[in-house]
Symmetry: C2
Subunit: 206 residues, 2 copies
DNA sequence: GTATTGATCAAACGTTCGTTTAGCCCCAGG
DNA sequence: CCTGGGGCTAAACGAACGTTTGATCAATAC
């Protein structure tokens, strides 16, 4: 069954090209060439270009949602759950960088099919968020930390480094000032929990 | 001088279509029709489709940078500066919503001309950030709040509501749970400063 | 009155797009 | 042996793309 190879190579090439050039800028011919397959094989395996995109979206959202379920909606202190969630999610963003860029950079399209597809995933994520923040101290309710606010906020915060890096890498004011992933996770978790003026949130906290 | 009208109408239509459909999905003919001008007028005024995009980018980045300079890099307590910056920036994002969506949603393109254009703006923003966080207490240095981390982070946090709203609006689990802009600004500023577990950061603080 | 200039237009340029078709190759099942 | 069908291909489809051209029109300058 040689077909499985080709099918996978198409998806690998697609996620790279979609992330770097955008979905619309990426032509089927360039995609076929990078994947090393014939042009017609793409629609043979995936039916259409759009279906190929939704498959990429599903891979990312399924992985992201699973992490949220595992860590954020578990039992235990809110701060510990947030810390573990942020660490795993950022590691996942890094290992699936191009999947993530496609998933949250290709947001603007009016296409009701794509938007509906994403909304189905978002609905599940909102449930996790609600479950995770609902039994929190009254402060959360008081601050209006609704799921519809927290889900985009947490995602944006963790993704910010990857979202802007194509531009920031070309600035090069001070190369080498990019913190490594492990510490990046701690910083983001610290800010989520205590903000930038809060006590230094490295390591364990109360 | 009827031309100024047409030129402005083209830009108005472009920013709406680019934000809703994306730059690549928006054709010159659809753009011309929405603007109520002849197809050839777009390149007559702007030279090319890409030049029209850079003009939109400049409008957004110039406004955003000015706010950062005014509020963030001013004198005074860090928390007060952050609070005022967040408030003004979010108001600017809301009033220039489509400009912002184009500016930060159209990030993936490999096009060196566009990336270089954005990098020039990012360089200035990083200078403001450095200036704003450099004379902070040692905690900032300790937490590695480098400009290259803070600039994308703050921007992403404030933009998260607008970035994901096309999808979230279609979820409709609990319509009406979207907080209004004024309170949204306070919440974001509170999280930036004190996190979600910090003391409730509404109103004045020490 | 005539030349100049900038705004506007319809039409066409060549290219690239996503998709489809018709057929080849090769191997398992009868 | 042959017969199907899945993997695979070259070629073509019509449509849409961004851009350019040459002409027309109105108003200004000489």
């Amino acid at each position: 069954m040689k077909g499985a190879d080709a099918r996978q190579r198409i998806l690998d090439a697609a996620v790279v090209l979609f992330a770097r050039q955008g979905f619309d800028r990426t032509g089927m011919r360039a995609l076929a060439e990078k994947a090393g397959v014939n042009l017609a094989m793409i629609n043979y395996f995936y039916g259409s270009k759009k279906r190929l995109l939704t498959e990429i979206l599903d891979i990312f959202f399924a992985g992201y949602l699973e992490i949220a379920r595992d860590e954020l909606a578990a039992t235990g202190e809110l701060s510990a759950r947030v810390r573990r969630f942020v660490r795993r999610a950022i590691a996942f963003f890094a290992s699936h960088r191009d999947f993530m860029l496609v998933a949250i950079s290709e947001l603007h399209h009016d296409d009701p099919e794509i938007i509906g597809h994403k909304a189905a995933w978002a609905r599940q994520m909102l449930e996790v968020m609600e479950e995770s923040f609902a039994p929190s101290p009254a402060a959360a309710e008081e601050m209006h930390l609704s799921p519809k606010l927290m889900a985009p906020l947490l995602t944006s915060m963790m993704a910010s480094r990857f979202l802007f890096s194509p531009v920031l890498d070309r600035v090069d004011r001070d190369p080498g000032d990019m913190v490594e992933l492990e510490r990046y996770s701690e910083i983001i978790a610290g800010i989520v929990l205590h903000g930038i003026t809060g006590r230094v949130a490295r390591g364990v906290d109360a």
